[in-house]
């Protein structure tokens, strides 16, 4: 049963967001040597299912930490909307998804495939359709790797990670 008080940011919510951010950062940098193979998409999916709309704040915190780590650049603009888009889609489709690993694997794969296109949207403002198109097309091979990687990572990890999260997160804090 959902805890009605969970709408507020209590100590548990703040602490759990910090831990989730640390998990996402560590897992991302552990796989930095593999271009476009990442756990970030998968983690945002399972965290969104478990903790609900709060995870939107986590996406922006993630972007800020990445900006500190790599140095801010135009990529920050893309990160500011791309990861929230994933969280929003996950939360809007959770009744359809029904915690089915295949559903979320397909969703994650589709997100990976569309990552380059989504990131290229801000270039519309900078250089118009021509720049957006060339920027996106040049990255298609990486998007394909990203999509396939996301699909299999989510397919194999979804069930075991959700089992662990359900054990670790108190039932009244879960937004399933």
């Amino acid at each position: 049963m959902k805890d009605k008080a969970s709408k507020k940011w209590g100590a548990y919510e703040v602490a759990s967001m910090g831990i989730m951010l640390a998990i996402i950062e560590v897992s991302k940098h552990a796989l930095d040597f593999l271009p476009n193979i990442e756990l970030v998409s998968f983690l945002f999916i399972v965290f969104s299912l478990m903790f609900g709309w709060r995870v939107l704040a986590l996406t922006w915190a993630f972007t800020v930490i990445e900006a500190f780590y790599f140095g801010a650049g135009v990529w920050v603009i893309a990160y500011a909307y791309v990861w929230p888009i994933l969280v929003i889609i996950v939360l809007l489709t959770r009744k359809v998804g029904k915690q089915n690993p295949w559903f979320y694997a397909i969703l994650s794969g589709a997100f990976g495939l569309s990552f380059g296109f989504l990131c290229s949207i801000y270039t519309l403002v900078i250089g118009g359709v021509a720049q957006q198109f060339t920027w996106w097309v040049a990255g298609i091979p990486y998007d394909i790797v990203h999509g396939i990687g996301n699909f299999f990572i989510c397919l194999f990890l979804f069930k075991p990670v959700m089992i662990i999260l359900k054990k670790v997160v108190p039932e009244e804090k879960q937004h399933l």
């Binding site: 295949w102 397909i106 589709a110 097309v137 298609i140 998007d143 394909i144 999509g147 396939i148 699909f151």
Partner: protein, 97 residues
Amino acid sequence: MNNKKGIIIGIVALVVVILAGVGIYAKFGPKASAGSKSYTLTVVAEDGTETSYEGTTDAEYLHGLLDEVAANEDFTFEGSDGDYGFYIESVNGEVAM
């Protein structure tokens, strides 16, 4: 049954999108062309002096051109291979800043 059907449709859609991506990249992706090209390579040293190398080449990529210039002129360069191609670290003994 509906669930299974939806999953199959989803996977098929992913495969179709991947194949479409391959096709779009093959048609519109960046391409290098071999053929006679003229070039001007200018090296600006730390003290501001400029050395220019001009000519024509059939090299497809910059690395091939640099190899040709190094073989025929008083030009040297060093670098290392990385995940994204050759990374130039120094030219004519000067380290890139």
